[in-house]
Symmetry: C2
Subunit: 517 residues, 2 copies
């Protein structure tokens, strides 16, 4: 296996299992080229009644065979029933070597591990989380997995790198034509954008709903003109786990301090006062606290953001209602307030990975965001970020929208200096998810490191009283607390590729030889 | 030139000017197949500032060369400035042999005739109306033109039959990213759906606006991720001619009678009382009167239509507000009330030719419409309809959405028996736009003909007092009024192809040898 060093110094095989790899060349080096996938041309006259009586009828109609690629979206999050429901039926038919292409998986999808072990599932492309990632780390997949960001997944499907044979789209609301949205019904989840690429490019598209309404189902986040079959089931998910009742702000003094520092930095940098200020933060405890602190600054200063990117939560919705943001551009809803606001407020706009994150487009929203606040499992001295593996070597997380959101004009990583007795600031990340060139600031409770590439930011903050220090100092502080961390032991076998949003490979994950398991 | 007889008995050349033709095989015979067009893969990093200072800068940036295909939409109708503005600049550069692919043209586009005569324009694909159609009839185009329905145009672009090099999209509202809609601004026109295919499949996409707003422009009928450049100009059109202040119902007693008959037929057939009743009518005088009469029946009977298809007008908006229709699914707005309702009422939904009309999709709305009321220039004894040429042989109209809308479950043609001393019911239409198999009813002021293929309708109406007669009788009545009409004289040369919505050729138009000109 010939290895090539990529732009972040990782060795990437030229080819693996017949798959030719392009090594990562830099965050904005890829220039596109080639042509998008060309889906088959259907004829409307073949699509009379799309309503089928059961999931089995849909599987029959789609003629699913061994080795096919089956896709799902993750808007139902840890409440999703559909992945397990479909896989159970496919396994019962004795199907084997299926490729799974979910936009993300959750703890509720643990049953997939059994299908991996039995050979029903060959490998996974798209994202891996928790138990399934653990199975991957242990080398249980037959072939190498591919992890992609939300934007990277759209790109891969659009570009034909990831061909989906059959997409199963869980829909909280759908009509017999296949128009579907996520804002109405007992299983309402907010947007359905993660399924857009699947609907546009998969050979067969099955909408599975527990809330069939008469035509027209509107909004039509998924358009019936792209849908082959519609199946109704009793329930597509557990509402209490699809969206939490309310998302919780952190109560940890350490994490509150991190959030406060991040908000103060945004304020003091002056970027908040610039025309067209906008921001993105997630739904983690620190992110929510950051949003709260930011809102206080904005209110005090009379700032109105041109937009905020979701995942939406009560906190973002409050800002919209108070007039602190003009629009929420929302890719997924994390709580009920987010879902209801998306449904009812015309300023709360559903987005999808094409408009927000697709690098192989004529521009997307990611690079228009002024400030993105993101979490990480590790950051290293080159500012490279890892969100996939932990320092102990386990692959436990998908990329989510990380690499896409990190294209913001200022990307801030918020993380405690130490987590579970392991340093977060390390000399060299276990896995590179995003290159240091995209990371501008790392905020910990003990100090803030600014990427030396951002002299402009350093200049703007030179009179700040924030504890701005070189990242090497954070590293030393962390080491002083934890002592030198034990490094995991890996086998040679590559079990997963970390694909950058442009389709190049930024790192590989090797099989873990766990100390105890 | 080898000719093949198609399914409506017209002789279609196997090939013309190197273009292989597929003869029309029947309204629902085409089964799709092959693959959609695969547009080039762009890279977001190349799209920083899309705002250009002038139209000339955009033309430079697009590198427009002789022979390229340039497209436009027609939502600005007879108020459009953009087609002439762009063509004037292209002509000034000495460009030649351009192919024009507008979704429709209007009398305001008469200056194009000069560019045709000078060789700036080689021929037109898409639609032709008025002066440009007349130029085509006279043989002024260098190569054969292609007329397509709105759905057929989407299909042709999607399938790669019509490759657009550069699309110029007039936008009443746009942001610097290229997101655009038609509902805000001094040139508001309603939907922008006719430009959707262009934005998705053209190599280069230029948004031209007179109302640049800050990001995000929403709704984004056109998505910035598909747009290369944004240009601002003083004015993209004349508001008074983009949408009329109010559309006018007919005052002609003859036409009112036709509308009344059509509404009565819908009522008496019982279809109005069926679950999921829906309808489509245009903005012509008879259509508007039909809507009024239909609304009276519906109100009296307590019927609520599941949806009405636009073109939207005050009359349709009134029905929505009164609760007589649940939704308006709107492809274009004909008056201010339509534009305002689309902008403000969430039940008034913008559509585009993909969702509504594209035969090469997994189903579209056209076939879900219960009753469509459409006009025609001629109907013949086989119920074939002509909407393109007049009996005197002149090509004066595009297809519009005719062939698509005619896929409704009951398609009703409303027309006076005689127009300008020419019979509308003829033995054989001058040009077949839509096959008789799609046409169910012809309503004139002197009698109503029902297609014998629709025995179900004849049965439903057997106790009706409506003047239902065989179409042959209508033909005789017309002839008695007009005497035998003089037939036009054509040259051999084929100047235009009438393409059916599936891409087959349903008829050809030959060069006219006019008696006096």
């Amino acid at each position: 296996m010939r290895l090539i060093e990529n732009a972040v110094g990782r060795l990437i095989p030229e080819e693996i299992e017949g798959r030719k790899l392009r090594p990562f060349m830099g965050a904005h080096a890829d220039q596109g080229g080639g042509r998008k996938a060309a889906p088959p041309i259907p004829a409307a006259s073949k699509y009379g009644n799309k309503l089928l009586k059961s999931l089995d009828d849909a599987i029959d109609a789609c003629d699913i065979r061994d080795g096919m690629t089956i896709s799902f979206h993750h808007h139902l999050r840890d409440g999703d029933y559909v992945v397990n429901m479909v896989m159970e039926r496919l396994a019962a038919r004795g199907l084997r070597d299926l490729v799974l292409a979910p936009s993300a998986l959750f703890p509720c999808h643990e049953p997939l591990v059994g299908y991996i072990e039995k050979g029903v599932i060959d490998h996974i492309e798209g994202s891996m989380n928790g138990p399934v990632g653990r199975a991957c780390s242990l080398g249980k997949m037959k072939h190498v997995c591919v992890l992609r960001s939300h934007g990277g997944r759209y790109r891969a499907i659009q570009d034909g790198d990831l061909h989906i044979d059959v997409a199963f789209i869980a829909a909280p609301c759908a009509d017999p034509h296949g128009n579907a949205n996520g804002v109405y019904g007992k299983s309402a989840c907010g947007p359905l954008g993660f399924a857009l690429a699947d609907s546009l490019y998969a050979d067969k598209v099955v909408v599975i709903t527990d809330n069939l309404v008469s035509f027209p189902c509107y909004p039509w986040s998924i358009q019936g003109g792209n849908v082959d079959y519609v199946v109704t089931v009793d329930s597509i998910g557990d509402p209490s786990r699809i969206v939490s009742g309310t998302t919780q702000i952190t109560r940890s003094p350490t994490r509150l301090l991190i959030a406060k520092y991040a908000a103060q930095l945004v304020y003091e940098s002056g970027i908040m006062h610039e025309e067209g200020f906008s921001f993105q933060a997630g739904a983690g405890g620190i992110s929510l606290a950051f949003i709260q602190f930011l809102a206080e600054y904005m209110e005090r200063e009379g700032i109105v953001a041109s937009f905020a990117r979701g995942g939406s939560t009560q906190y973002l919705v409050d800002m919209l209602r108070k007039g602190l943001v003009r629009y929420i551009l929302d890719g997924q809803s994390f709580d009920l307030a987010g879902v209801e606001s998306l449904r009812d407020d015309p300023r709360h706009i559903e987005t999808n990975p094409f408009v927000s994150y697709n690098y192989h487009s004529k521009g997307c929203f990611a690079s228009m965001v002024k400030v993105a606040v993101l979490g990480a499992t590790e950051v290293d001295l080159d500012f490279n970020v890892n969100v996939n593996t932990h320092s102990d070597g386990w692959l436990l997380h998908g990329i989510g929208g990380f690499t896409d959101a990190a294209d913001a004009q200022i990307t801030i990583i918020t993380a405690p200096l130490v987590r579970s007795r392991l340093p977060i600031i390390v000399d060299r990340v276990t896995t590179v998810t995003a290159p240091g060139e995209m990371i501008d600031v790392v905020v910990t409770e003990r100090g803030i490191a600014i990427n030396p590439r951002r002299q402009d930011l350093l200049d703007r903050l030179k009179h700040s009283k924030l504890p701005i220090v070189p990242i090497e100092k954070l590293y030393k502080m962390a080491l002083e607390i934890t002592g030198p961390p034990e490094k995991p032991t890996f086998a040679d076998r590559i079990v997963a590729l970390i694909e950058f949003r442009d389709g190049t490979v930024i790192d590989v994950v090797r099989q873990l030889l766990p100390k105890e398991y």
